[in-house]
Subunit: 248 residues, 2 copies
């Protein structure tokens, strides 16, 4: 294995609905001296959602009685809680001021991924993309059409985890790469057959890029070179089947 490098893409303007993300990222890459070729572009969910218009002005939201009750209990904005409930298919856990939800995509995360930070304006909620795999695929197609590639694209977000403190970046969607590196059937260095060795490369890439994307740094994308996880998988395939998930 040879070295991997991670380079931040900074200097993007505030992203609004209808903006051409591929063009903005291509410009940012050029200014950083990066050729978007043979690597993976990790893009934070927030600018993808903004470009797709997945933004709700809280002033337009009428909280339901359930949202009002949850907001009261957890000292939150009831309009925020209303948007969370609309995005959630299920409340998985509730307590300590945290609402862990399952989203329509099948993600399990705080507030169904609905976030008030890094919005363009006060009192705006940013929702997850409708279909983050499709978002990644569209962005990748536009980048390829603009002369980039071959490359993979990951749309990432920061999620909390059970049992351990602190958020870690994970992938919400991907295109042009194999999300899971499945070496079951392979052998370890001593020749013993490997039993359970399917690595979530896509999440390792998202976590690596997250090192350069603290929420107060204004860095919405990171270019990862030295990796070649080429393939055509979708992130959605890596969500556990609820039937066999021991933690539903």
């Amino acid at each position: 294995m040879s070295a991997i490098s991670l380079v931040p893409l900074a200097g993007l303007p505030a992203v609004h609905e209808g903006h051409d993300l591929a063009a903005l990222l291509t410009t940012a890459a050029r200014e950083a001296g990066i050729e978007l070729r043979e690597g993976v572009l990790v893009v934070c969910q927030k600018i993808v959602s903004k470009a797709e218009g997945r933004v709700v002005a809280l002033a337009s939201v009428e909280p339901s009685p359930q949202a009002l009750a949850i907001a009261r209990e957890h000292e939150r904005d009831p309009r925020h809680m209303e948007v969370v409930l609309r995005e959630a298919t299920r409340i998985v856990r509730r307590g300590n001021g945290v609402l862990i939800c399952e989203t329509r995509h099948g993600f399990v995360c705080a507030n169904a991924g609905v976030d008030l930070s890094n919005a363009n304006e006060a009192d705006q909620a940013i929702l997850l993309p409708e279909d983050p795999d499709a978002s990644a695929a569209r962005l990748r197609e536009s980048l390829l059409a603009g002369g980039a590639g071959p490359l993979g694209v990951i749309v990432s977000d920061t999620f909390g985890r059970p049992w351990r403190e602190g958020l870690v970046d994970v992938a919400l969607g991907c295109a042009g790469l194999t999300p899971i590196d499945d070496r079951r059937g392979g052998r370890d260095w001593s020749g013993r057959p490997l039993e359970v060795t399917a690595t979530a490369t896509v999440d390792q890439l998202a976590a690596a890029a997250g090192l350069l994307m603290p929420k107060d740094a204004g860095i919405p994308a990171v270019w990862v070179s030295g990796v070649a996880p080429w393939g055509e998988g979708r992130l959605a395939e890596t969500l556990r089947d609820p039937e066999t998930d021991l933690f539903r």
Copy 2:
């Protein structure tokens, strides 16, 4: 933020109890042209455990009736299951051929971290280090004494996650760095106060290094430069308090 680079350290010999890991890693770094200065060395748990003698010959293990029952049910080696039960304080979930345990350290992982792959000999089980923070601290002290530094050290392992397929590398122990980058009280790029933004830098580093450490590659350590999470935290501090953990 500037770029981050990840470089694999290969070519270590098979590690046995009593080996001087710091000396082996220093040699591997020199051969890779790396100066162990101003970066983080991520070392896989397995070579740390081997150097510390945390290895059990299965031939010496007498399975208890509970281990025999679990092994029968899940089609596993009863001696392996016996070692797992000895390392576990609690079985968290059981099903689909998987035994999710809480370890004495407070980690929640498959088989209490007891693994049969990448052992030096057949029919050996490798246990997690007794105190991975202490392991990291000892290794760091030896590296500093040998002329390296300043640097951080992480002992990592691959764990599965609820809800998502695929393993991801996480930290078991650390030294010389702050495991959680807590920006609560800070502001986002638009000036809005950040609510819940404590990032598990230590796990992002472990996951990033994991990209270069697939289990069949024989790469037991990765040098990460371009990061400066200096501090004196312990990984153990980042395990959630069971009292407030919604997923115990």
